[in-house]
């Protein structure tokens, strides 16, 4: 019975019925509307509220006219036509005819692939681990991150920035095949890095120090790119937020790398007395102390202090007392100049495409004049905020003879440099000191035999909760191949919660042949 009905519906006669029915519906609706309008009403009273009736009707009419400017004459709006051409996936529309190109990692492995027969389908083998750098392509939630800025290539359009082209070109332009876009990411490292964060809020960046290639760009928690709905409503964990590039955090002790670079570049490497009572930068300022002071005090013991420290020892012990004094000794001018060179107050562009770019949030480093504030900023506190990506970049500068690379996410972009932070000699001396910080300092647990890891821990105080945990490092010492930066939000001690992830990642990278222990040579 049902089969007969369906046969009829799908036949030529059935289609005529459909067409007739569509007209019938509008006719019945028009008749009903007319009848409702003309229907009898009781006698009107003395108050008619003519103004309210007029205003309501006028408002509805005005909306209808405005609606017509989209519904009927929308083709007169060039930006709207542009949008329709690219994202209107209704049957017969231009965008429907394109098979979207895949996203590939540096070895050609698929990061995002189209689903044949489903214009909005998209397969993401990395799942939630890769959603932050890659973005999503979703019929209801839109298009984000790499999927968004590389959309013209992926969907086979060349981007025209012509203003006011006539609407007729909407159908004149034929869509080509979507092209593939190759990224610098390494799918294996990306997945491993995400697993290592194990659901904690944080970020991981793995980068090549000279080219700025981003091998992993991880933000945790992630979310399912196939259904961004629940994530977009989760305001508490904000999984949609890319912590690696948009999160602004106080850097704490990892910032000492930049301060040391500034001092070494000026030929400054003084020896300071670092007493347990700490350093007082000015009148009415609380003393800046080392964490050991508090650790001893909690146990009821009295800490004797470090005594006299040089720059290397100060980095090894991560001494706040030393760096506060160093910051003041450098002076505001040197400090501000370093902030300008490192472009802390500017966003980092990590992908450029014809239809836009991906950039990190700008950090903030206030311009200072008072020694009191300088002392706080020199230990990475005060009003200082940076993104994890920026920390990775200045770590890379130390590994790359003082030259800060421009981070890069696409292989077909030429590698670029952002700035020279310090002389190669200064960078070399700083490398030795960071090596010491891992060999026998706060970063001891990151020591991997033969790899000669150089790095710095950070434990940054932040308002309203536990400290943020940092670890940033590069390896191997002599020919650095990898920079790894890990941030764990509210993770407490850097050495305890951020460092193990960085160490495991370095080991994984060695296993994958992305970095070789020294002495084995490079291919």
């Amino acid at each position: 019975m049902l089969e007969t009905v369906m046969e009829f519906l799908n036949g030529p006669l059935g289609r005529e019925c459909f067409r007739l029915n569509r007209v019938l519906f509008l006719v019945f609706l028009a008749l009903a509307t007319l009848a409702v309008w003309r229907a009898p009403a009781p006698r009107p009273g003395k108050v008619g509220f003519g103004l309210l009736r007029g205003l309501t009707t006028a408002a509805l009419l005005a909306i209808l006219i405005y609606q017509a400017t989209w519904q009927i004459s929308g083709f007169l709006k060039p930006e709207f036509v542009h949008f329709l051409r690219r994202y209107n996936k209704r049957p017969g529309a231009a965008a429907m005819q394109v098979m979207r190109g895949p996203l590939l990692d540096r070895r050609g492995h698929v990061l995002a692939a189209p689903v044949p027969g489903d214009v909005w389908g998209r397969r993401y083998p990395l799942g939630e681990a890769g959603v932050h750098p890659l973005g999503y392509y979703h019929s209801q939630f839109g298009i984000t991150a790499v999927e968004r800025v590389c959309d013209p290539e992926l969907s086979g359009y060349s981007v025209e920035r012509r203003e006011g082209f006539p609407g007729a070109t909407l159908f004149a332009v034929r869509a080509e095949e979507g092209r593939a876009v190759t990224l610098t990411l390494d799918a294996r490292l990306q997945a491993r890095a995400y697993d290592l964060l194990a659901g904690r809020k944080g970020a991981v960046i793995v980068m090549r120090p000279r080219s700025g290639d981003l091998l992993a760009l991880v933000s945790s928690p992630g979310f399912n790119p196939g259904d961004p709905g629940p994530a977009s409503r989760d305001e508490e964990n904000a999984p949609v937020f890319n912590r690696a590039t948009q999160g602004r955090y106080p850097p704490g002790s990892v910032f000492k790398i930049l301060v040391a670079a500034a001092a070494l570049d000026k030929g400054l490497a003084p020896v300071y007395a670092c007493p347990a009572m700490g350093y007082i930068a000015g009148p009415n300022t609380p003393p800046i102390r080392d964490s050991e002071y508090y650790a001893y005090a909690r146990r009821g013991a009295v800490w004797p202090g470090w005594g006299r420290l040089n720059l290397e020892k100060a980095l090894v012990h991560s001494s706040n007392v030393y760096f506060a004094q160093l910051g003041v000794a450098c002076g505001a001018e040197v400090f501000n100049a370093m902030m300008a060179r490192a472009q802390i107050n500017a966003p980092l562009v990590y992908l450029q495409a014809a239809s836009g770019e991906l950039r990190s949030a700008a950090g903030s480093a206030p311009t200072v004049t008072q020694p009191r504030k300088l002392a706080m900023l020199a230990i990475g506190q005060g009003d200082l905020l940076v993104t994890p990506l920026h920390v990775a970049c200045f770590t890379a500068a130390v590994a790359a003879d003082g030259v800060m690379p421009r981070p890069r996410l696409r292989t077909d972009e030429a590698p670029g440099r952002m700035a020279t932070l310090c002389s190669p000699e200064a960078a070399g001396r700083l490398t030795g000191m960071l090596r010491a910080a891992v060999r026998n300092g706060t970063g001891r647990a990151a020591e991997i035999p033969g790899l000669e890891v150089c790095g710095k821990t950070g434990t940054a105080q932040a308002a309203g909760g536990d400290d943020h945990a940092w670890f940033t490092c590069f390896a191997p010492r002599r020919k650095p191949r990898l920079v790894v930066t890990v941030l764990v939000e509210r993770g407490g001690f850097g050495a305890r919660s951020a460092l193990p992830a960085a160490r495991a990642l370095l080991e994984e990278a060695v296993r994958l042949g992305l970095a070789r222990p020294e002495g084995e040579g490079e291919s």
Binding site: R53, A62, N88, R148, D151
Partner: protein, 426 residues
């Protein structure tokens, strides 16, 4: 001629005639949708047809009940309500809102409950019984506060708003409750609020202070619940009712200025509202992100053109939350600008007749009640349709009688019932 006809045809009979025409439109639209559903999957979706059945049986039942009670009100008003209600059922059937059938009673229950609420509304105010409701003003005020407070304490977050278990949005109830309160409060202080000097309303200070003090309660609670759409709606209702009590256009002008200023102010306070303003001003700034929803809605309309794709033949699924807030975009795609013009005309008739019935009411309280209920529905329609067409920023308000949403449908039918009852004043 129409005056002569009113004596011949009883009002209920006229409504029945209107319903028959409405039902023909609903039937032809449903058949289209059914044909397309069968084309996709050759299984008769019996359970999805239940709401249409309820509509076909429930409305005549309500009419019989009105006939028995001797209702003699505005036939056009009731006819418009039933027509819109039928279109709503059809659209939700088309969008697959009933696709889970009996397994999802939350989707099926609102229509019968709404028709009951409509009948109850008619019963409460018909034959000049409505004046009695003035005594419930304070109770309504406290109930409104209670609903908001309960939501604040027990609600859980969903899509940026607070909802009770089962995604019931009880704030819908706040609207009729506060209209009831305002009607009762303002009708007793008619003199105090109708003083004007050179067109500018100068209410007595005492009455104004009391009103501000009382109004601050729901306003602050609504702010705490973060339902800015409701906040806007409540204040618009207040303005319309102040205008109705004083009949001074000064209130409308002041209200419009205040709403604009408040909207501008909130823009700086809440990043959420600011984002909506920015999208409204320039959706092409971030077309694939923040502007996506509204641009997809406009793309749906564009593909609809003058006559539409036909119900069931469009692709409105690409518009986010298309069954509730953006249902108008789906309709525009499938019934075209022509269908939209008819739909808005039906709304215009509903509100126009609602205001006229309110004006003809015998007591000031009933007049205010009618203006408040009609004004609330009109405001809601204007804000929703304007938001979806990008004429105004999105406010997250549903389209009365059409949008998917149980509490919204039931409350809207209750409010429409109260006005329909008011229109019977013999």
């Amino acid at each position: 001629m129409s005056a002569r006809r009113t004596r011949v045809v009883s009002p209920v009979g006229a409504v029945a005639g209107l319903f028959l025409l409405s039902f023909l439109a609903v039937l032809s639209a449903s058949l289209s949708v059914l044909g397309i559903k069968l084309g996709n999957a050759p299984v008769m979706p019996w359970e999805q047809l239940i709401p249409l059945g309820i509509y076909a049986v429930g409305v005549p039942a309500v009419l019989v009940w009105m006939r028995v009670n001797g209702w003699k009100g505005d036939a056009g008003l009731a006819g418009a309500v039933f027509l819109l209600c039928g279109l709503g059922v059809t659209v939700q059937f088309r969008m697959g809102s009933f696709s889970r059938g009996l397994a999802d009673p939350m989707a099926l229950a609102p229509l019968p409950l709404g028709l009951l609420a409509f009948a109850a509304g008619v019963a409460l105010t018909a034959k000049r019984r409505g004046a009695w409701l003035a005594r419930t003003g304070w109770a309504a005020y406290l109930a409104a506060l209670g609903v908001l407070a309960a939501l604040l304490l027990l609600g859980r977050k969903y899509r940026g708003g607070l909802y009770l278990a089962g995604n019931i949005n009880p704030t819908e109830l706040v609207k009729p409750l506060l209209v009831l309160f305002l009607a009762s409060f303002l009708s007793r202080r008619q003199k105090a609020f109708s003083e004007t000097q050179v067109g500018i309303p100068v209410p007595s200070l005492d009455a104004l202070l009391v009103l501000i003090f009382l109004w601050a309660g729901p306003v602050l609670l609504t702010l705490a619940v973060k339902d800015l759409g409701l906040l806007l709606l409540l204040n618009a209702i207040l303005v319309v009712m102040l205008f109705a009590v004083a009949r001074s256009t000064g209130y409308l002008a002041l209200g419009l200025a205040a709403v604009t200023a408040a909207g501008y102010g909130v823009r700086f306070l809440s990043p959420h509202v600011r984002a909506r303003f920015d999208v409204w001003l320039n959706p092409f700034e971030d077309p694939t992100g923040k502007g996506w929803q509204i641009l997809q809605a406009l793309a749906a309309m564009y593909s609809g053109g003058w006559w539409g794709a036909g119900l069931g033949s469009g692709v409105p699924q690409t518009v986010p939350i298309v069954t509730s807030d953006f249902v108008y975009a789906a309709l525009a795609e499938e019934i075209g600008l022509a269908g939209c013009a008819l739909l808005l005309a039906v709304y215009a008739v509903l509100f126009s007749r609602g205001f006229r019935c309110a004006g003809a009411a015998r007591t000031p309280f009933e007049r205010l009640l009618g203006v408040g209920m009609t004004g609330a529905l009109a405001m809601q329609t204007i804000l929703n349709v304007a938001g979806v067409t990008k004429a105004l920023p999105m406010t997250g308000i549903t389209l009365p009688l059409i949008s998917h949403g149980g509490s919204s449908l039931i409350t809207t039918l209750l409010m429409a019932g109260l006005v329909t009852g008011l229109s019977d004043r013999r």
